[in-house]
């Protein structure tokens, strides 16, 4: 509310705070105006991103003149009083009345406070403590009996609430309600018995729950992950970027003794504001298990055994030399831009192969073309700010809450504050789309292109497409074609490194910066003798390994289970003459390797990501621990040296410098598109008022449309440029236009619902934020917030399949609880892609294909969602 008020009213008013005049937009609360005047008013309940409530009364000020010549007889709460033209405000610094009022409130806040600072996680960074030190009495006048509560109680597996410390500011409750939309938290009881609570059996399992710990102004809320782990004054803070997804949240990482203790949401108004998701906040201990790699491994007599770096590098060089250029490189989607670039150059300039891909996931040739065209001409990228302003946002093949949670929060904010209309083309209404109040176009997987083509998408519409559109024929083409209707689009990969890897050229169809394969500009940097044959994508590499046309594989950070056909991938690696694995943990792929080279974890390297907006998001080195593995770039450089072709750089900075020095293919207007979208590493200490003091990034000027046609084979429409009916590939579903456009290699056709066999439904699936991903290992309290695992059918489909009474069903041998969900599209069965012990891909199930849904004969007692197995025991 405050934010909208501030932005919607350019009209300014002048107020005087402690004698300092300041101009603020009309509608600004006095507490914000004071900040702009350089006066900090103490507060507990006020938060710039939450609606004001005026509960704590700590922010009382005297207003001798409300702007109309008359003053208020008693002190006013500055967080709920709006600045008016000519208003005079006196804070505790200049008014005895205000000072007495603030001291009075502070004294009252402390009478029932346990003051157990020595055992409180907040001690040392506690606003209440700070304020008591700054303004409180030395000796309390209260000598009565304090209200007692039993000490901490869980609100979820992750959150602990100490009600004695709670100052009832309701920040947590308002966050849950206003920001996350997860309303399990509430205040109950009244008077001094008031307390934050959840309903019995309904823990606060928000994906965003950790934010409440961060904004709690006292030590009332603590996390299972961090409580009692450190004292804030012993921690060293580093500002970096979260590697959880492609949202690009700024992150503050606190470490001590070479170990990260906690991660907090950074303060980046243009991206994550001051929030992050629990995956980003708590999911950082996966590399602390016994499978962590620190020394190279070498296969001897069929066994992986520890080896020296010298030995291992020599063995790797020998293995790769034997394969010549018949080497495929697969990098996964989580590498920094710099590391991806190192692989891009290593593959081409050192190995002589264009077979490199970052897509360790389902993909299609259509997607390859789509991405190539996008990288060649990104046009004017859609940004978070654009989502704020959009009239309509259409989600297709994308569940923002699961795949880019901060995008979800931004959409929800726009829905609440700007009445944004969200439409989702999806197989069912997810909890996330329900919280966005989204209009659901229930769609069987594979039908996305047709649905998109049928939508009215004028100016003011933005279509956000997700990575699983690659599995839906024509969908990405239809996405790009949105510009022809006047709309804009963005592509949101799930993984943080994909946009950067595309730019870095870790991609079969492009060299760095969108340069075509064989580019002169790149050759000037990389040297001569570069491969010119088109590269293989990751699926083609797997096939080529299996048929012997590729002899060796270099895999970095790839999970077999992430590939659409894990069995085929395993077979490919087993068949390969030589497999080199660059890894942090002994993954399945590493176990199949001949040489395993350990690399430094992200927190020990630096570099950058590009988020979905293409914003450059710096990754800072958090820990510099002596004696741990080298960075991946350095390992590749060493290996290149061993192969006799120097890589050309050894550090992330050098890699970035070289990558940035490569020009993108000529574009007419170089309007410094990146300047505004680049996020500088901000100071560790957040500015007092992010909403007002941090300038919103200026809109990126639209470069004129690319003159260079996209690569002929994969022609699709240029991204978000002026509509061009000639260049843009028409939607597949549009038969008349299809004839005119170049053919798009379509992925395997999805099942035609009409052609389903008896007992079958079309499989729809996506990955939820918290599943059995290995990156979430060792953090059971985080996994406990995962959604209940269930297969879903709508009532009609369930009836047609004879499943009205079934409690559990099997899909391809995997057993699920069955939930009858009226929002699921007809003839579709939805199930999560992965859950502990359940992996659709491993079971050979492909989304969009028919799957038999059969009841489990003896229905066991329904699994209580709260007691869902969440430990890695099953992972």
């Amino acid at each position: 509310m405050t934010e909208t008020a501030v932005k919607a009213n350019p009209e300014l008013v002048t107020v005087t705070v402690d004698g300092r005049a300041v101009e603020v937009p009309k509608g600004t609360p006095v507490i914000r105006a004071a900040e702009l005047a350089g006066v900090v008013i103490p507060r507990f309940c006020d938060h710039p991103l939450l609606e004001p409530i005026g509960a704590c009364r700590q922010c009382l000020v005297e207003i001798p003149d409300a702007g109309n010549g008359r003053g208020f007889p008693v002190p006013q709460a500055s967080c709920t009083t709006v600045a008016a033209q000519g208003m005079r405000v006196e804070t505790a610094a200049t008014s005895a009345k205000a000072k007495a009022a603030q001291e009075g409130v502070l004294e009252l806040l402390l009478i029932n406070h346990p003051l157990d600072c020595p055992i409180c996680d907040k001690g040392g960074e506690c606003p209440l403590q700070n304020q008591a030190m700054a303004q409180g009495r030395l000796q309390s006048r209260f000598d009565g009996v304090k209200r007692r509560f039993p000490k901490s109680q869980p609100l979820s597996a992750q959150l602990w609430l100490d009600r004695e410390r709670c100052v009832l500011c309701s920040r947590c409750v308002r966050f849950a309600d206003q920001i996350a939309g997860d309303d399990q938290l509430s205040l109950v009881e009244r008077g001094a018995r008031s307390q934050v609570a959840v309903q019995p059996g309904q823990p606060f399992t928000s994906y965003f729950a950790g934010n409440t710990v961060q904004i709690c102004p006292v030590g009332a809320l603590t996390s299972q992950s961090y409580r009692f782990a450190a004292r804030p004054f012993d921690l060293v803070s580093t500002v970096t970027t979260c590697e959880g997804c492609a949202a690009g949240c700024q992150l503050r990482v606190d470490h001590r003794h070479y170990q990260v203790k906690r991660r907090l949401a950074g303060d980046l108004p243009a991206v994550n504001q001051e929030w992050n998701c629990d995956r980003g906040r708590f999911g950082f201990v996966s590399e602390r298990g016994p499978d962590r790699l620190t020394v190279p491994l070498l296969r001897r007599d069929g066994q992986l055994v520890e080896a020296s770096w010298t030995e291992a590098l020599a063995a790797a060089a020998a293995g790769l030399s034997r394969a010549g250029a018949a080497v495929g490189v697969l990098t996964g989607g989580r590498l920094t831009r710099e590391t991806a670039y190192a692989h891009a150059r290593f593959a081409r300039a050192v190995l002589g192969s264009n077979d490199i891909d970052f897509r360790a996931r389902a993909l299609s040739a259509e997607e390859t073309g789509f991405l190539a065209a996008w990288q060649t001409d990104p046009g004017q990228p859609v940004t978070y700010a654009d989502l704020d302003q959009a009239e309509q946002v259409v989600l297709v093949g994308l569940e923002p809450e699961d795949e880019a949670p901060i995008v979800f929060l931004r959409l929800r904010r726009a829905v609440r504050q700007h009445r944004l209309q969200v439409t989702t083309i999806a197989a069912r209404r997810s909890p996330g789309s329900a919280k966005l109040d989204a209009r659901l176009i229930a769609t069987a997987p594979g039908q996305e292109a047709a649905q998109l083509a049928a939508l009215d998408l004028g100016a003011g519409s933005i279509v956000l497409g997700g990575e699983r559109l690659a599995q839906s024929p024509g969908a990405l083409t239809a996405l790009a074609a949105v510009v022809r209707k006047g709309g804009r689009w963005a592509w949101l990969p799930r993984r943080p490194g994909e946009v950067g890897a595309l730019e870095a050229g870790a991609f079969p169809a492009l060299w760095p910066q969108g340069q075509p394969v064989g580019s002169e500009a790149v050759a000037r940097v990389w040297g001569s003798g570069l491969p010119t044959a088109p590269g293989r994508d990751s699926l083609a590499q797997v096939a080529a390994l299996a048929d012997g046309s590729l002899r060796a594989a270099v895999w970095s950070g790839v999970e077999l289970a992430d590939l659409p056909d894990p069995a085929a991938a395993r077979a490919g690696l087993e068949r390969a003459d030589f497999v080199l694995s660059l890894e942090r943990r002994l993954s399945e792929a590493a176990q199949l390797a001949d040489v395993v080279l350990p690399v430094a974890p992200l927190e020990e390297t630096s570099g950058s990501f590009r988020n979905w907006e293409r914003r450059l998001s710096p990754v800072a080195q958090v820990i510099g621990r002596p004696g741990t593995p080298m960075t991946e770039i350095r390992v590749l450089a060493a290996l290149a040296d061993a192969l006799g072709v120097p890589l050309g750089f050894r550090t992330p900075d050098e890699a970035a410098a070289e990558l940035d020095q490569i020009e993108p293919p000529a574009r007419p207007a170089e309007a410094a598109p990146d300047a505004a979208a680049t996020t500088p590493v901000a100071a560790v200490v957040p500015a007092p008022d992010p909403a007002l003091t941090t300038p919103v990034a200026a809109a990126v000027p639209a470069p004129a449309r690319a003159a260079v046609p996209a690569p002929a084979v994969w022609t699709v429409g240029p991204a978000n440029a002026a509509p061009d009916p000639v260049l843009a590939t028409p939607v597949v579903a549009d038969p008349a236009a299809e004839a005119a456009g170049p053919a798009i290699p379509a992925p395997a056709a999805p099942a035609d619902p009409a052609a389903l066999g008896p007992g079958e439904a079309v499989l729809a699936t996506w990955r939820e934020l918290l599943d059995d991903a290995r990156l979430l290992d060792h953090e059971p309290a985080l996994r406990a917030s995962a959604r209940p695992v269930a297969a879903r059918l709508n009532p009609a489909t369930a009836a047609a399949l004879g499943l009205d009474d079934a409690r559990r069903v099997t899909l391809g041998g995997l057993e699920f609880d069955l939930v009858i969900d009226p929002t699921v599209a007809d003839n579709v069965v939805w199930a999560p892609s992965r859950a502990p012990g359940l992996n659709l891909a491993v079971a050979g199930l492909t989304p969009g294909r028919a799957v038999a849904v059969t009841p489990v004969a003896v229905a066991p007692a329904a699994v209580d969602p709260a007691e869902r197995p969440s430990e890695e025991a099953q992972a």
Binding site: P52, I53, G54, A55, C56, R57, Q58, L60, P73, V74, P75, A77, T80, A101, G104, V105, E107, L108, L109, I111, N112, R141, F142, G144, V145, K146, R147, R148, F149, P150, V167, L168, S186, L187, V188, E189, R190, G191, A192, R193, S194
Partner: protein, 492 residues
């Protein structure tokens, strides 16, 4: 405040003017037939033939002021609601939970149709098609009577889609509260009515702009609305002929405590406290007045110095107190003011909604200070501390409940400081034995050394912080166990 001018002293020295209370003694006065037989719904018929704006003007010009406590002009409040917006709502406040206040509940018992008629006229004037009455939940019998009255009115065509053939449509929902004093505060009431937590809302937006379900809403006290039919019936000039210049008309005064004949006394706003006290037969025989509240426990107390005060808004404001709900609680010279104050503050501590710090924490502290003063275990300086804590609360809270909570403390200390200071050494029950002040009880056994938990007939809520769970248990231990050991469930 300037001294009020008495504009229309009743010529015949007739002090009481029973209008709302006129028929309370009639058999089955709550039935429609009785109500109609005595002229009921005439006001409605008169209103329906006039344009709504004219009806609103009549009420506005009568200068009727809200009877719920704040005395805001009723017609003016109605006029704040945007005329062109729909839907809008009328919400009648029958939460009546303030200690001492007891006028709305009897009215609902004895003459619910007066309120129903008032609601229909008010709704017609404002352009409301859906009205709500929020009645204190404990008042079960009045709720039944009101519901029955609404049903009767509906059956008789006074409610429904075409009220008396006028084309105007209205329905009334009678909602039972769930036992919270704060839900009498109008925005907390709206929250409660919407099914939310009963806590006051931030203003702006004001209810007239965004009230119930974020729609324009008028909130009025039961008595305010029940007065409307009489104004329409007799005309504004009749109403203006009573009362003082800025406090017009008649109103119900509720006398309770140490008076011979406690009850409801309906009189013009020119009556003095002495006149009312005389009408009620005076203070208990053999005793004299010690102090009284003019308008419920939230209004600063007055003493015999103020016997001749005119009971209108302005005179009481000039005396540093308020007309409030016109609940005159009378206490004679047997009463311990320390004990009385403690009971009131215990009530506010119990009823504090907990939203804001000064009220939630401050009342907690005040209760402890007052308890030890009552027990004669006060520390020297406690009275000043009491005033200082009261000052930290007063004017700094989110809503006026907290101001009400400290009004009795500051005014009682002002008038009876030495009695509080006696709490440094002498228990209040020794200073003024409690049995003597029990208004209606048999002479009680000697309770000069009462056990803390012994039930006190005059103060049933004596136990603990008053935060018992309603099943008779109390959390006294949580405040008195020096080790602070508590046991979840019994305590907090």
């Amino acid at each position: 405040m300037t001294a009020p001018t008495i504009t229309a002293p009743p010529a015949d020295e007739q002090l009481l003017v029973p209008v709302l209370t006129a028929d309370w003694g009639q058999p089955e006065s709550w039935k429609l037939a009785q109500y109609e037989a005595r002229g009921g719904y005439r006001g409605l018929r008169a209103a329906l033939v006039r344009p709504p704006a004219e009806v609103m003007a009549e009420v506005k010009d009568s200068q009727l002021r809200g009877r719920g406590g704040a005395g805001f002009p009723t017609g003016l409040k109605w006029s704040f609601v945007p005329g062109d917006l729909s839907p809008k709502y009328l919400v009648v406040n029958g939460d009546e939970s303030e200690p001492g206040t007891c006028k709305d509940v009897p009215l609902l018992m004895a003459s619910p149709h007066t309120l129903v008629e008032g609601i229909i006229i008010a709704s017609y004037a404002i352009g409301v098609n859906q009205a709500f009455v929020y009645v204190r939940g404990e008042a079960l019998h009045p709720i039944r009577r009101l519901r029955a009255a609404v049903a009767e009115a509906r059956a008789a065509g006074y409610l429904g889609t075409d009220v008396l053939g006028s084309g105007f449509s209205l329905d009334i929902v009678v909602h039972a509260g769930a036992g919270a004093y704060i839900c009498g505060e109008e925005t907390a009431l709206l929250n409660s009515l919407e099914g939310r937590r009963g806590q006051p809302r931030l203003r702006p937006p004001f209810p007239a702009v965004a009230g119930l379900y974020a729609k324009p809403t008028v909130i009025n006290n039961v008595e305010s609305i029940a007065t409307v039919p009489a104004i329409i019936n007799h005309g504004k000039d009749w109403f203006l002929s009573m009362g003082t210049e800025r406090s017009r008309g008649m109103t119900i005064y509720s006398l309770s405590g140490h008076v011979r004949h406690p009850g409801q006394y309906e009189a013009p706003l020119t009556i003095t406290f002495r006149q009312l006290l005389d009408l009620a037969g005076g203070v208990r025989q053999g005793h004299k007045l010690k102090f009284f509240t003019p308008g419920g426990s939230s209004t600063p107390i007055l003493t015999e110095d103020n016997l001749d005060i005119v009971l209108d808004y302005e005179s009481l404001a000039a005396a540093g107190t308020m007309l409030g709900t016109k609940a005159l609680q009378v206490f004679d010279d047997t009463t311990s003011v320390v004990r009385t104050t403690l009971r009131w503050v215990e009530f506010y501590q119990h009823e504090s909604c907990g939203k804001c710090t000064p009220c939630r924490e401050g009342t907690w502290w005040l209760v402890q200070l007052l308890r030890r003063l009552e027990a004669g275990q006060g520390h020297p300086g406690d009275v000043d501390l009491l005033l200082s804590v009261a000052q930290s609360i007063n004017g700094q809270s989110f809503c006026p409940l907290a101001a009400g909570a400290v009004a009795c403390v500051t005014s009682a200390v002002k008038h009876f400081r030495e009695e509080f200071e006696a709490g440094y050494h002498t228990p209040a029950w020794e200073y003024l034995p409690y049995a003597a002040s029990a208004a209606f009880a048999e002479p009680a056994p000697d309770r000069s050394q009462p056990a803390r938990s012994a039930p006190d007939p005059a103060a049933p809520d004596q136990a603990g912080a008053g935060q018992g769970d309603g099943a008779g248990r109390s959390d006294e231990a949580s405040q008195t166990d020096p080790a602070g050991r508590t046991d979840e469930g019994v305590t907090l």
